[in-house]
Symmetry: C2
């Protein structure tokens, strides 16, 4: 197995050639049995293991060429041994998940005598447009194929060399599983015109998943004629209630802000209840500063910790994706929830409290894809939720919300079993 | 309670005045308890009972003014005592349904120690655009409010007088329940510019449901910036297998074609397996003809029943919505499924057979919102599926498919319960 340079694709390729071929692959995949789909996952995992050195080499080339990009971008672009192992583990995790296709639920006899239930079926043809994180291509292909869908993968130019190797591994997986080679199509990273074709081809693509920066999603969401899922930004909040376990809170805040600041489930604004601000906030902010985090605070925060820079209105809206934190003292739960309702992006919102009634009020009242009690926002992730992997995180309310995995890549049709019934 | 003439609405009304008020009503409704929502349903039902005579009178005026419309259109526009009773029953049925809002499912401990589950929540603000069936306004409002959503209702001009009375009943229901009056907004039937405002206001409307003819859905689907659910057409097929119970098949075919030809779940094309065509088809078609049904047949059909008019290619695509039936003899199941894949509109597809393997092949292999065995296509309906009512039928694959009721008007957010966990 060698990685061939991807040939350039001309405008119209998708409409005229790939479209029908990939649709046909999707039809075959919808009927494929679980064993074949799992063989694809296992063979792709084996190919990644075999190509580990080549993959690191190709990725190092990509990272070197992206040296003028922001640090968070370079961090996302980078593959290391641990991330490759993560991709391989992800493939096996998805193989272990039960096949959702054909599952029937809630068969219920109705008063007319007919029995009505629902059967889970694939969506058809997916497309994922992603920017800098090459490992998400593997998660996406794994989930798409296991759910019985064909998928187009379109990475940003920066991942060019990495994606060629990944493509070769995916094709090897399909070959060994006896599945159609058009079930997973890696589009050339440098074919920007192909995105225009993707978003203009609702007849060939059923769902587009955007995984990348604000600008990417906003542009796709605005222009696409294919339905788009994803998220504009992750302006995630943690509210530290005055009944929180304050040592626990310190550990969670550090984890949520600093364990991987460049990703969408990192905390961007810390909200602190006024009754504990004076006793807890100075130590918390000292600890964050020692760990290399910059801070922008409200006037009450700066009264307590004068070295903190003042926050502007824009800071409450900001998704820093960097070791920077906005900090605000609020009167209590109601003011925290009002702040979140105003500035949040419906991604992930957290309350830290030992008070059951307040936890319940926050859980029920906050409108976001993920709402958490006493845990780090960084858990908002398909693997951590038991989904095996994720193809993206959606903040819209239609079809799927939060981490999208097998269920979000399928739908249900109604099935009706009668014994000759007619309708009155 | 009297029905006030609806005042005209100026362009920009939705954006500048109604939008924020209805969004605020949705926020209140999301927190409303089940008792208040059920009081709305019961009080609206009582108001409809009180206004029955006035409603029939107003509807008769609308029907009289629509005398130049096609018969199927007039049939859909007409309210009679039985349909008013149906609306009242629908309101009570929805009141009896369990409240979906706040329901939590599948709380599962993950390896990290966090517990992850999903909570069902309202979508927010809905809009339904419908053409001629005034009774669907009541179903729509009932389901929207029970699911915790605010809703705009926009009927076609032809239902003007009927909708004024319905609006008065809905407002009376909201008043008695103590819910915000902007939770259900009946837009003026003659305000065509309002549809442009609706479809151009994604900030004020989360989901648009189209319920009407082909042209309405196609236009909304093409132009709307708000997600649209509905169906383009219902070109429903029944395949009569050579292992069908042929007496049963005769009854189902008559019911599916003739019990209400003007609606979307009526059969439009009959596919018959060749081995039984000679023995069964002539009697079947005689029976349909006696019942006033016209037929368009393939050459094999016309060889057996010469009085049948020839079918053109267009007939296989046609949604007649009238007592007209296209008839085709096919070699067997595979050819029937290929015909359905080519001409079907993914609405409702039926096989009549006593053969288990063929029933299973059809159920799994046919791609449609509803797939049925040995029952009339006319059962594709929210009430018949045990959903209490329906706000429309969707043939797309995203979010909800088939009859849309409480579940389709809600979504799920993820909830995470931790005890201080951080992510490694």
């Amino acid at each position: 197995m060698t990685a061939q340079p991807t040939p350039p694709m001309a405008t119209g390729t998708l409409r005229e050639h790939l479209g029908p071929a990939v649709r046909q692959a999707a039809t075959a995949l919808a009927q494929a049995d679980s064993a074949a789909k799992n063989r694809f996952l296992q063979a792709t995992a084996a190919a990644l293991e075999t190509q580990r050195a080549l993959l690191l080499q190709a990725n190092a080339l990509d990272v070197a060429q992206a040296s003028d990009q922001p640090a968070a971008f370079q961090e996302r672009l980078t593959l290391n041994d641990s991330r490759i192992t993560g991709m391989i583990k992800g493939l096996h995790d998805v193989a272990y998940l039960p096949d959702p296709v054909g599952r029937i639920r809630e068969l219920t006899r109705q008063t007319s005598g007919i029995t009505v239930g629902r059967m889970r079926v694939p969506l058809g043809v997916l497309a994922m447009v992603f920017e800098s994180r090459p490992n998400v291509a593997i998660d996406a292909a794994a989930l798409a194929v296991k759910a019985g869908n064909a998928i187009y993968l379109k990475a940003g130019t920066e991942a060019l060399h990495t994606c060629r190797i990944l493509d070769a591994c995916l094709q090897e997986g399909l070959r060994q599983a006896g599945l159609p080679m058009e079930a997973v199509v890696m589009l050339p990273c440098d074919g920007r015109h192909l995105i225009q074709e993707l978003i203009g081809s609702p007849q060939w693509i059923d769902l587009l998943i955007a995984r990348g920066g604000h600008a990417l999603f906003a542009a796709l969401h605005q222009e696409s004629r294919v339905p788009v899922m994803g998220h504009l930004s992750g302006n995630c909040h943690i509210y530290v209630d005055d009944r929180a376990d304050l040592d626990q809170a310190m550990a969670i805040v550090c984890n949520a802000k600093l364990s991987r600041p460049g990703v969408c489930n990192a905390m961007e604004t810390l909200l602190v209840a006024a009754p504990i601000a004076a006793s807890w906030l100075p130590a918390m902010l000292d600890k964050l500063r020692e760990a290399g985090c910059a801070m922008r605070g409200c006037p009450a925060t700066r009264d307590l910790v004068p070295w903190v820079q003042p926050a502007t209105e824009q800071d409450w809206h900001e998704e820093y994706l960097a070791p920077i934190l906005a900090v605000r003292v609020v009167a209590g739960l109601d003011e925290a929830m009002a702040h979140i309702a105003r500035y949040g992006t419906q991604h992930t919102e957290v309350i830290l409290t030992q008070d059951l009634a307040r936890a319940e009020q926050f859980l029920r009242g906050v409108d976001a894809a993920s709402v958490m009690v006493n845990a780090s926002s960084r858990f908002a992730d398909g693997s951590e939720y038991g989904l095996g992997a994720e193809i993206g995180i959606a903040t819209g309310k239609l079809h799927a919300r939060g981490p999208i995995a097998l269920e979000g890549l399928t739908c249900e049709k109604w099935i009706v079993l009668g014994q000759g019934q007619v309708r009155e």
